[in-house]
Each structure stands twice: as structure tokens, then as C-alpha cells.
């Protein structure tokens, strides 16, 4: 059978290419695409564990991005609302201390510290303004070990999540490449596959 007379979409190389495209698009959808609504909070890249207990971090900038949920890359704008969701039910009666630290010269220094308190609704929120660009981390530590049925020897280890505050210009530049980098990788792969399938077809003639 003459391969050129068959339909384009039934040629083996094209079928393989389409299938691989679908596979790569599915696999290349990074965890960022699943954040905040695409996946359950427990599997979100904005989640972290504090002494084994799940926390979820969200930042809102209503005047900049309306309801968009941010976590890893946040623009340095006037007003940002930080929200920490304490997902594990057991922590509703355990005092939780929240710290935000800023990275300076390879070490993290305290930026803001919210004293330990109980969050019976499972959520803590606070406003921050005029954030300086840099690398930060938000951490949660559980206090009052005895009320959480842990012994003094097994102290809670604070967990944390790193995030960046970037200037708007920096964020826009980086975000374009980060958002569309998969297009370049996919295009390269498509070219390679086309070359392979063309070689295969010409050999089978």
C-alpha cells in the first residue's frame, strides 16, 4: 500500500505524534496548574507540612489580580492579604505560631512574627503592605506540646514554604517564560518526532 495515499491522520507517525503530544501536555502541566482549585488543597504545591500537619498558604492582591490565588511568586505591590489554612482538624485547639522570614545573605531573618494563638475556624489571615522584593518563607509551629499530647522530647518541628516577592517587571518577564516554556520543549520534541516518523515512512516505501 502506498503510504502517501492514506489519510494524513492515519499515518503511524502522525498517530504516534498526536498521542505523544497529548501525553506530554498532560505530564507537562506542572503542579502550578493544579494549584488552588485544580487540585485538592492537600496535593497543592502551596501546601506544606508543619510537624506532619498539613497547612496551605494563599496570598491575594485584590487590587492587582482580583481573586487570583498566589503563593510562590507574589508581586511587590501595595497591599497583600496572606491566608494560612490549617487543614488538619486536630489543630483547631492547638496554638499555632506563624512566622514570616526574609532571606538576607543566605540566612532567614524574622520579618513578621504572629504570636501563638488558636484558630478555631482553621484559617489565619493578615494584611501586609509595601513588601520588599526578595525570598521569604512562611512557617508554622505548634505550641503547647502537652495540649497536643506530645512529650517535651518530641518537640514540634516547624514546617515552612518558600515564596518570592518580585517586582512587577521581574514577575512579568519571568512569568512569560515560565508559563510558556513547555511550548518550546514540546515544539522541539515535535520536530524530533516528525523527523523520526518521516524516516520511518520513507524506509517502509
Amino acid at each position: 500500500m502506498n503510504a502517501t495515499t492514506s489519510g494524513l491522520f492515519f499515518r503511524p507517525g502522525v498517530v504516534a505524534l498526536i498521542g505523544l503530544l497529548i501525553a506530554l501536555m498532560s505530564m507537562s502541566m506542572s503542579p502550578a496548574a493544579y494549584a488552588h482549585g485544580g487540585r485538592a488543597a492537600e496535593k497543592d504545591e502551596c501546601s506544606f507540612r508543619a510537624e506532619g500537619h498539613m497547612m496551605h498558604f494563599t496570598a491575594y492582591q485584590p487590587t492587582e489580580s482580583n481573586r487570583e490565588e498566589l503563593c510562590k511568586d507574589i508581586a511587590a505591590t501595595a497591599n497583600t492579604i496572606f491566608v494560612l489554612d490549617i487543614i488538619d482538624e486536630v489543630l483547631r485547639t492547638v496554638p499555632v505560631k506563624i512566622d514570616i522570614e526574609m532571606k538576607t545573605n543566605e540566612t532567614f531573618d524574622s520579618f513578621i512574627s504572629i504570636p501563638a494563638k488558636m484558630y478555631e475556624t482553621g484559617s489565619a489571615n493578615f494584611d501586609l503592605s509595601d513588601l520588599v522584593p526578595g525570598i521569604y518563607r512562611i512557617s508554622a509551629s505548634l505550641q503547647a506540646a502537652e495540649s497536643h499530647m506530645h512529650t517535651e522530647e518530641h518537640k514540634h518541628r516547624a514546617g515552612f514554604l518558600e515564596f518570592s516577592i518580585k517586582s512587577k517587571e521581574e514577575l512579568n518577564e519571568a512569568s512569560v517564560f515560565e508559563e510558556y516554556s513547555w511550548v518550546f520543549y514540546l515544539f522541539t520534541l515535535m520536530v524530533i518526532l516528525l523527523v523520526i516518523s518521516n524516516k520511518f515512512l520513507s524506509r517502509s516505501k
Binding site: V15, I22, P62, R67, I81, I86, T121, G122, S123, F200
Partner: protein, 415 residues
């Protein structure tokens, strides 16, 4: 080689989109499905949350289910529904289900705006820790689950026995294996026959020769006299086998009932207190940073008695007015804690509502559950509206149920 290549690629596609299934799959359902279809309440389980039963033990779930009157337009009305259970596979066997005491072996149709009593009896089968919910399958909408608890099954799955005694006194030791031997025999018989029939045709050249005969209009060469004779003998043989097998079956099982199709009818129980408390939603907002739903509503008390707001319930989440003891008494010990938010329902005015009074007030329901249950994603829907039930109580402990619904908007301002 090409086919193998394509198959590998297709498998890659499947692997890349498949994921791991865990509990709380209802979180993947759209909020409008969970808030404006079924509301389950007064749920009771015959065992405690996270307790253990042995293989072959029975557990019961019962309670009430309210079919919301503002049923979503995107799905069919509940004219065909089936009462079932949601478990991770057949870890339990469903022994029986009832709706208003009517056995739900078949599907039924229900009316929106009505409440029905349900009961589900399950028998433990596969050891493990399982999350178990009651569920309604609604045609075109899929499964709508109620609140669930963890149940541990201990023992050996090989010990599972599901025996029954038929109405004619026949004792069947285990339904799981009853008649399977017979099924296997008959399947093998027909499979062998089919393979022989295929072999009769495949043994001769199939494609090229036949193509050439068709090209030469040599139709008689396609099906020979021998082919027709063999086909005829096989036809007679098969029909004879069918007649004989039918007679054997009739003799072995003289009294049978066909598998029931159609729908069974269930009457709802009229509620004399329906509509006595009117609730009108004015505005509703979701304060994102605080994970709070705020509802501004007017409540009109036509009960003739003094009432108070006891509970706001939506998507199996129960925001209870903690200042009202009778409302708190309605939360059974052991009820799943993740479904009863700690802070409860906050009211701008929680004083009793007098008979005939119309009061406008604000209700606040705050909990991270709005996020973890992914209910806040209703703000991304073209129809951002919510649905809920409000329970009122009078001084004698009588309960009145009202629906509330309305559009909801996001806000970043905490009022």
C-alpha cells in the same frame, strides 16, 4: 513495530492522566451539585466513626434526605434516582435499601422540595479502612453522596458469606458463588462452539482468494455447499440445545421472578410545617481571606410559636448555633468532626423570633472547610449561587426546616 510504538504511546497517555483515588472524592463535584441537590440530615450510623466490624457483620445508615426545590437546571430533574452507597469498591455488600420504608431494589422518582426517610443496610466484606457514605444516583447527574464515616473491617475476606433463603425454602449458602459453576460451563460450551465455527472459516484462505473471487464475480466459490450444510447442521444443533437447556432450567428452577425493571413509586410524607418559616435571601457574600460566607436574609415566623435559628447546613457541612442548646443536642457524639465546623453559626441577632415577626439579620458561617471542600470554587461558575437548609427550633423542641438560596459574590472586605 509501528503498532507496538502506537500502543506504547497510548499507554503513556493513559498513565499521564490517571491519578490515585483516595477518600472524599465528592470534593471533585461541582459546588452547585453539592449545594443545590440533596441535603442529608439526621444521619445515624449503627456503629461509631472509625470503629471496627468483622467480615459478615451488618451496618446500617439511616436518616433524611431533602431534595432541594431549586434543583439545578444543568441536570435532569430527579425523576429517576437510585438509593445506594458510596464506598471504595465492593468492600461492603448492599443488603437492602429503603426510601420511606419502600424497598429500593429498583429506581424511583422523587419530587423536589420534599423530604424522604432513607435506610441502607450493608454487610462487611473486604478488610480494611473504608469511608462509607449513603448515596443517590441521579440520572444524568451521577452519584450525590451524603456524609460519610470511617469504618474498619477486620477478619478474612475468604470468610465472607452472603447466604439467603428463597421464598420457596431453598437455602443458598453463598450468593457470591451460587450458580457460578453452571455459568462457567455454559460459557465454555458456547465459546468452544464459537471457536469451532470461526476455525471452519479461518482454515481456508480468507482475504486474497476471496477478494479475487469477488472481483471475478465468482460468488458460488465464496460459500460452498459444504459450508451451507455445516451451517445448517449447526443452526439446528444450536436451536435444539436452546430448547433442551430451557427445559432443564425450567425443571431445575420452576418458580422464578424476572429481574425487575421499571421504577417503584414512593410517596412523600406531607410535612404540615412546611413553609411556616419563610426565609428570603437579600445578599450573600464570600469573604475570601476569612473563609466566611455571610448571608443577609429576612426570616418570617408563621409558626405561631417563638423560634430560634439552630443550624445552617450546606453540602453536608453543619454550622450549628452553639448558643442554642437544643441545636447542639442535635449533633450526635461521634458525628464526623470535619463536618461540624468549630465556630458554628454566628448571628447578628440570635434572640428568639416572635410569632408573626419578620426579622432581617446576618448569618456568618466561617470555616476553612469552604476551601478544603472546594466549595468556594462556585465563585468560578457561570451560576454562582448557593443552596442550604436552615433549621429552626421552638421552645418545645419542634424543628422547622426552610430552604435558603441566592447568588453569592466574593469580597475582600470583612464587614
Amino acid at each position: 513495530m509501528t503498532r507496538l510504538y502506537i500502543k506504547v504511546v497510548m499507554m503513556l497517555v493513559l498513565f499521564s492522566v490517571a491519578g490515585l483515588a483516595l477518600a472524599h472524592g465528592e470534593r471533585n463535584q461541582e459546588p452547585f451539585l453539592r449545594m443545590k441537590t440533596l441535603h442529608w440530615y439526621d444521619i445515624k450510623w449503627s456503629i461509631e466513626n472509625d470503629s471496627t466490624v468483622q467480615v459478615n457483620e451488618e451496618v446500617t445508615m439511616s436518616g433524611k434526605v431533602h431534595f432541594f426545590s431549586r434543583w439545578p437546571e444543568q441536570i435532569n430533574m430527579p425523576d429517576t434516582v437510585f438509593l445506594a452507597n458510596a464506598t471504595p469498591g465492593p468492600v461492603f455488600v448492599r443488603v437492602g435499601t429503603w426510601l420511606n420504608d419502600v424497598p429500593m431494589i429498583q429506581s424511583t422518582g422523587v419530587e423536589v422540595g420534599r423530604v424522604y426517610d432513607f435506610k441502607v443496610v450493608l454487610k462487611a466484606r473486604i478488610p480494611g479502612r473504608h469511608h462509607v457514605h449513603p448515596m443517590f444516583n441521579v440520572e444524568s447527574a451521577g452519584g450525590l453522596v451524603g456524609p460519610g464515616i470511617w469504618m474498619n473491617i477486620a477478619g478474612d475476606a475468604n470468610d465472607f458469606l452472603y447466604g439467603v433463603e428463597t421464598r420457596t425454602g431453598i437455602v443458598i449458602e453463598d450468593l457470591e458463588t451460587y450458580g457460578v459453576e453452571n455459568v462457567v460451563k455454559w460459557h465454555a460450551f458456547w465459546a468452544i462452539l464459537a471457536v469451532l465455527w470461526l476455525a471452519w472459516w479461518v482454515r481456508r484462505p480468507l482475504l486474497i482468494n476471496r477478494f479475487l473471487w469477488v472481483k471475478d464475480n465468482n460468488w458460488s466459490a465464496l460459500i460452498t455447499r459444504t459450508d451451507m450444510m455445516v451451517g445448517g447442521i449447526l443452526l439446528v444443533f444450536i436451536i435444539t440445545v436452546l430448547i433442551v437447556a430451557n427445559q432443564i432450567t425450567e425443571k431445575t428452577y420452576p418458580r422464578t421472578v424476572p429481574l425487575q425493571g421499571g421504577k417503584v413509586e414512593v410517596q412523600y410524607v406531607p410535612n404540615p410545617e412546611e413553609g411556616l418559616v419563610e426565609v428570603k435571601n437579600h445578599t450573600s457574600e464570600y469573604y475570601l481571606p476569612g473563609r466566611t460566607i455571610t448571608i443577609d436574609a429576612t426570616i418570617t415566623n408563621n409558626t405561631g410559636k417563638v423560634i430560634q435559628i439552630g443550624e445552617f447546613m450546606s453540602s453536608n457541612l453543619r454550622f450549628v448555633n452553639k448558643k442554642l442548646p437544643i441545636a447542639m443536642a442535635g449533633v450526635d457524639e461521634g458525628y464526623p468532626a470535619e463536618l461540624v465546623p468549630n465556630k458554628g453559626l454566628i448571628l447578628s441577632d440570635d434572640s428568639p423570633i416572635q410569632p408573626g415577626e419578620s426579622r432581617r439579620l446576618r448569618m456568618e458561617a466561617t470555616d476553612v472547610a469552604w476551601e478544603t471542600e472546594r466549595l468556594s470554587s462556585l465563585l468560578n461558575d457561570p451560576d454562582s449561587s448557593y443552596g442550604a437548609l436552615i433549621f429552626f427550633f421552638d421552645e418545645e423542641g419542634n424543628r422547622y426546616t426552610s430552604e435558603i438560596y441566592g447568588q453569592i459574590l466574593p469580597t475582600f472586605f470583612d464587614k
